[in-house]
Symmetry: C2
Subunit: 339 residues, 2 copies
Amino acid sequence: MRDDLLRACRAEPVDRVPVWFMRQAGRSLPEYRELRSSHSILDVCRDAELAAEATLQPVRRLGVDAAILFSDIVVPLQGMGVQLDIVPGTGPVIEKPIRELQDVERLRDLEPEDDVPYVLDAIRILRDELEVPLIGFGGAPFTLASYLVEGGPSRSHLHTKTLMFGAPEVWAALMDRLSSSMATYLRAQVRAGAQAIQLFDSWVGHLDPQSYERYVQPWVARIFESLSDLDVPRIYFGIVTGELLVPMAATGADVMGVDWRVPLDVARARVGGLPVQGNLDPSILFAPWDVIEQQTLDVLRRGGGRGHVFNLGHGVLPETDPDVLARVVETVHSWSPGG
Amino acid sequence: MRDDLLRACRAEPVDRVPVWFMRQAGRSLPEYRELRSSHSILDVCRDAELAAEATLQPVRRLGVDAAILFSDIVVPLQGMGVQLDIVPGTGPVIEKPIRELQDVERLRDLEPEDDVPYVLDAIRILRDELEVPLIGFGGAPFTLASYLVEGGPSRSHLHTKTLMFGAPEVWAALMDRLSSSMATYLRAQVRAGAQAIQLFDSWVGHLDPQSYERYVQPWVARIFESLSDLDVPRIYFGIVTGELLVPMAATGADVMGVDWRVPLDVARARVGGLPVQGNLDPSILFAPWDVIEQQTLDVLRRGGGRGHVFNLGHGVLPETDPDVLARVVETVHSWSPGG
């Protein structure tokens, strides 16, 4: 197996800097749009064969160094008893938002083999097919809580923060339930064959550092701690996290994902030299090739060749040309980590 | 006139830390909703009497130390020949987005007395009415460009960045046109009676620092430079600007507005000791009073009492209780800047 990804996550020397893209599976690929023409997103997530196929598509086409399970962070919430849908153009919509302790208490602990067997089956299928590592993933508790409390995507995260600041005991109960289930979920993915895991904290950048440290960091740390006996890199990612990188690194993550706003060398210094993942601006992929190439090389130089997993600073935008992604992979692979 | 705001902007000692709120006029006030029951936003902006009334409402009710002209950053774009509307629930919508040089060339230079007389008339009315300074404002060129290029609000700013990275000469022409008109616009506001100006760069935090320095900073610097002969503080504000504060401070701004993500003492160190404005999280205003009070005092302590204009880290959310805003004003005013 090509293990550059795992080596980079452990800061070991690599022949080539490994590269994968957040949302590499999905709408930017014509073969995915074909797959989706007859299935909803949740249909694909809940069918092991389809999820495995969507996971494999970008690996075949782009030459990336890792696969990431095709799924959505809200999938395990269904297994916890939450009624939800993913609405095209909007995102996850929760039928009954969580606002009170009794709402939290209705959440069941996730039992992955019973509640989300298709996720684990997809991983088992993929392990037989793949020659690159498979990354499992889950949503971080703040981000999951935000969907549950707001009822869907939000600009201000007002209800979430109101609960967090105004009812800290309800907040703690919710974070406890979510982090416990996420720890179980990620462990099950590793047992099924995932060789690395990524915790997505998409919305955490809406918090100031003190609130993060008080209301979020302990729960994330607990998830990572619970996985510390497993020999898999634990990647932690959010956007708009410049001010949070120090406390985020203190959660025990092995690799810190960084969005494009923080130059990678600056980010690395901020996280105490931890391996980093990122961070080309996904919008740059629409520029002329010479601009893309120059920015790709700049990210590589700032990444320093060791302890760097090349990625975008956020997910692939749906309008992205897959040929450009493939060309970025070639550029990363042609670059010599030795300088 | 109560001049604490102007003194704080010059880092002079104050008896009380001055406080105002971005979007203090607007939907959080019942008297504003009453005003809007028979007028669109643009109607209010384009009628000097109504704009003056909306500007005065929060000053009467909240006891703030500054008024900010009720208007919208897209108002002068109409004067430059852009067809647009402000759609409730969406924001500004531009009829023909700008994508090419000929689109840029269709933009006329703003002539404030002819194109936006109601803005200047509102300022003249307000100067007779107000006992606190009046802040004039404009949109920074990147943020205005984003509306013009995207055609409205955007999450990814994809078209804007595509133009910026892919057609730098068109981008430069657009920034030139916008910054020249904004310089004229702000100067006209000061001549009409505005005693401070704020440049809103709402979307600039979507850029990485190098792109900001290359494609945005020179134009903002040119605007501030063009106003340097006027004896008014020039405030510069954007959100998600933690990584940009250093180059933003280098534009020549007198006061740096900071969102809630960067603790104010950290921000102040980053901008080389420049006066700062901010930065309570607007979502905190929905928490119990003891949390709000504690966070307000924390912002005051970090602000250090001198060279600090108290504000939120972003605009007042429409659901905010005005009584809570008034209570925050009282708390700020009761705090002793001497420690």
